[in-house]
């Protein structure tokens, strides 16, 4: 046997379809079932190392790989864009270990993995959205210890979070939390919706689609099942607001109802484009 063969585990040794071994996939699916059963609750699981660095979507990847079948059509986006570095890398990986079909069309995909955005087009009951999560713990903003935040969730003790938001209103007249806006799920758990902008938070509420959240580095999985209440934390006299794009439109497709990326010009001018590039392309066709 050649040294190279021996190193790679012998001639003909192939990586399993979908990379993860079946035991690992089963672990992830088990965590997913529990997550769906308790919406917004973070399920600890034995997160595996992926051939991408921690913090680069390893949680989302593990969920996608454990759900993937050869019939799936996959879309991967990063910051709304199909062509961004993270999305390209992950798509390359899926093509290599699964040989699945990929698309940039939200409607065509059976499974969408995303970093920091929810597609603009409403997804349906047959689709799954997998979100990559850097910080699964919404309360990390107010409490650094995991042991303490777990207890706070168990006791539904969200007083410090409310106080934090209230103090922002007092000091700044606005809540400073922009993305990762904390939401109450199913009237029980306060959840970090991943770093999606505020714009996307309402899309989680009473959706037709299953949302799965994977935090590989932090070893947590959680979910928002279809038709579940997802309510951003807000006060009666200080309502939750999404990003303001009043008077702006996409310079490419003309949309006035999408989340817009702001591009700095050399002369200091600002141009706006749809963040959801797949949707923008479709509107132009």
């Amino acid at each position: 046997m050649l040294a190279g063969e021996w190193l790679s585990g012998g001639a003909g040794r192939k990586t399993t379809w979908g990379f993860l071994d079946d035991g690992a996939k089963k672990d992830v699916r088990r965590a997913l079932l529990k997550a769906v059963a308790i919406p917004g609750y973070q399920v600890p699981y034995g997160s595996r190392e992926m051939p991408l660095a921690r913090g680069w979507g390893t949680g989302g990847i593990q969920i996608t790989l454990s759900l993937l079948s050869p019939e799936d059509v996959v879309k991967v986006i990063d910051q709304g864009c199909d062509g961004s570095v993270n999305a390209v890398n992950i798509k390359k990986f899926y093509e290599r270990v699964g040989g699945v079909e990929t698309t940039t069309d939200t409607r065509e995909a059976t499974l969408i993995q995303t970093r920091h955005r929810i597609p603009e087009e409403r997804m349906d009951a047959g689709q799954i959205l997998v979100l990559q999560v850097p910080y699964p713990e919404a309360l990390r903003e107010v409490e650094p210890s995991e042991a303490n935040t777990r207890r706070m969730h168990a006791e539904a003790d969200y007083a410090r979070m409310w106080l934090h938001l209230y103090e922002d209103v007092v000091h700044y007249g606005e809540i400073r939390l922009a993305y990762r806006y904390p939401c109450t799920v199913n009237g029980r758990h306060v959840m970090d919706p991943s770093p999606i902008p505020r714009w996307d938070v309402p899309k989680l509420h009473m959706a037709d689609t299953l949302f799965l959240f994977g935090a590989g580095r932090e070893h947590r999985i959680y979910a928002v099942p279809p038709h579940t209440r997802v309510e951003p934390l807000e006060f009666e006299d200080h309502k939750f607001r999404v990003e303001d794009f009043h008077g702006k439109s996409c310079s490419r497709c003309g949309a006035t109802d999408t989340f817009l990326d702001e591009i700095l010009g050399p002369d200091g001018t600002r141009t706006f484009y749809c963040s959801d590039t797949g949707y923008c392309d479709k509107r132009r066709r």
């Binding site: 961004s84 400073r176 990003e243 010009g265």
Partner: protein
């Protein structure tokens, strides 16, 4: 202005990968042989095996070469490879007193049963850049080998067993017994750490911890942010047998040997309620990595403090931050695009500025 912000990622990414591969593999120099890396950079190989959590010297050498010498990257390569391997068996407990010794020292006693075995170490070298070994000719290496092996080996003199110093102290009732209170060791590769973590989980997490991170925390404690005053009862480097049970015959067989470093740390008695006895801390990791084993021993002791009073004594603080693969990955992820998040932040700032202007 063109629509630059959207497409064209794939091609640029492919070329960036090519550039890395090209700069890594050198222009005119011949490729580094795995044997060269394994034999001439053994401490780097050992470090990567430990942090990657896979005892595989050839794979570690390959990963070091592929990672251009970056131990974080190399450990990640190794650990990601590990994730694809099936678990064939679990090893049996083994005592390190049967370690095939390479090096063994005790700082607690001038002499100990079995003796002080200095072994290969840079500890006693003068740290002068040695320009004489620029070429490192074969003749010079042969000379050193001759000096080492020329009639000086007397197998009779090598003891079969080196009793652990800490066990000798324990037999006299001088050090505490550390109860793990666990029937089965926790496995952090299959279950997520929960706090408070059992000792087996703490030790496993540290055995895979990043050397520099662990050193930093242990050093903070020994320097003053803590109350641990360690003595190195023993430091060993050697080969421990890997014992597995044959599933068919039920027989215990030695499947191989693993080079490991082990540190027993003893610290001042500090329990006013219980019997006055020294506390102990234990460190063990793959390969020869003495800084890590000592740091681990100190941190093991630190994390058993009755009331944590410094970062190194807070097990959640230590255990959630020592994994190099996690910390390196997350630090690097800030290089990924964050323009959606940033725009959302800008929106908040602009709103707050409006409020501020209205208030003034």
């Amino acid at each position: 202005m063109g629509y630059v912000a959207v497409q064209g990622g794939r091609e640029a990414i492919e070329r960036a990968c090519d550039l890395y591969e090209s700069s890594r593999s050198g222009r005119n120099s011949s490729p580094l042989g795995l044997d060269q890396i394994r034999e001439q950079l053994p401490l780097a190989v050992d470090r990567v095996m430990g942090e990657g959590g896979l005892y595989a010297p050839d794979h570690a050498a390959l990963s070091l070469r592929q990672a251009a010498g970056d131990t974080f990257e190399a450990s990640l390569l190794l650990r990601a490879h590990r994730a694809t391997l099936p678990r064939l068996a679990e090893s049996l407990d083994c005592s390190s007193s049967s370690m095939r010794m390479v090096r063994r020292i005790s700082s607690a006693f001038k002499d100990v049963p079995g003796g002080q075995v200095l072994g290969p170490t840079s500890d006693y070298t003068l740290r002068l850049l040695d320009f004489e070994i620029l070429e490192d000719p074969l003749a010079r290496r042969q000379l050193i080998r001759d000096r080492l092996f020329d009639g000086r080996i007397d197998e009779e003199e090598v003891p079969d067993e080196f009793p652990r110093v800490v066990e000798l102290l324990r037999a006299e009732g001088l050090v505490e017994d550390v109860e793990t209170g666990e029937d089965e060791p926790f496995d952090i590769t299959r279950r997520s750490l929960v706090y408070p973590a059992p000792r087996s989980a703490r030790l496993q997490a540290m055995a895979r911890g990043e050397t520099g991170g662990m050193l930093f925390l242990a050093y903070s404690s020994m320097r003053g942010y803590g109350h641990i005053h360690p003595t190195l009862a023993e430091l060993r480097v050697g080969y421990v047998p890997l014992l597995v049970r044959n599933p068919l015959t039920g027989e215990d067989v030695v499947a191989g040997e693993v080079l490991a470093t082990e540190a027993d740390v003893v610290s001042r008695f500090s329990d006013p309620e219980g019997q006055p006895r020294f506390h102990v801390g234990y460190g063990m990791c793959f390969g020869q990595n003495e800084v890590k084993a000592i740091s681990m021993g100190v941190l093991d002791r630190c994390m058993r403090a009755a009331t944590p009073s410094s970062p190194a004594e807070d097990q959640e603080f230590v255990l959630s931050h020592i994994d190099g693969i996690e910390s390196m990955g997350f630090s690097n992820h800030w290089k990924l695009p964050h323009y959606v998040d940033f725009l959302s932040d800008l929106d908040r700032l602009r709103k707050a500025q409006e409020v501020d202007r209205a208030r003034r």
